[in-house]
């Protein structure tokens, strides 16, 4: 699987025919075929080509909805290390 830097991920923003990728907890997902990610946008608020880990805590759904999308790579941070999955979000305690 491919390792993406944040700059590389930003190219996959669903615009001008580019595929739509998003990152969550270090994994990169291909959401190109999703009705809800058309043209690289989701519910007005989110765009593809970015790391959405911090945004998911505010979403009205959990990361389980990402399970249906193929994981096509890993995200690397600015220091060149793979981003490791963070602690479980608060809602997972319940």
């Amino acid at each position: 699987m491919q390792i993406f830097t944040k700059n590389e991920l930003a190219q996959y923003n669903g615009k001008n025919g580019a595929p739509s990728f998003i990152a969550y907890n270090g994994k990169v997902y291909d959401v190109s075929d999703s009705f809800l990610w058309q043209n690289g946008r989701h519910q007005v608020l989110h765009t593809t080509g970015v790391d959405l880990t911090a945004n998911l805590d505010q979403a009205p759904h959990g990361p389980d909805l990402l399970d249906k999308f193929p994981v096509i790579g890993w995200l690397e941070d600015e220091l060149g290390s793979l981003i490791k999955p963070g602690p479980a979000p608060a809602w997972e305690k319940y």
Binding site: F35, L36, Q38, Q43, V44, L45, A59, P60, H61
Partner: protein
Amino acid sequence: MAKVAREMVEKAGVDVDQLLELLVKNAAAELTTYYYYTILRANLIGLEGEGIKEIAEVARIEDRNHFEALVPRIYELGGKLPDDMKAFHDISACPPARLPKDPTDIKAMLTVLVEAERCAVRGYTHLCNMTAGKDHRTYDLSLSILNEEIEHESWFSEFLGEGPSGHFMRRGETSPFVSKFLR
């Protein structure tokens, strides 16, 4: 447009253009769901289909009512529906609730129905979160719709055997929460 009504929402810190885009997307989801549920409802045949025909019909009509209730608020805030109905379909906040490959597979039918309702519950939860304490009218409307969508989800979930819905079926009325917006 209700100029001052829009101003009040802006002053409360809501991005009204963003809110309008979400309201239009959810209105699209309601109208397209009404259309797709019409097809699903028509295909609920035989002994198994008979069992869920009534709740599917209530959900169908109530989702149409949700569309009717949303439209005035969109225009009050200075928004509008798209000129092109095909474009309206494609901006829906929820995926099309298409008829399963095997319409006699009741579990597949129920799965389509429950997933459509779950998408709606998420959408209106978000609208409530966005407008609570800031846009009182949109919040009231979103909460009313959310109440009915939660009931829809729980009915279909119960039929899938996921657990009790926790409430009784409504008789003789539709849209107990949203009807006040339909007068």
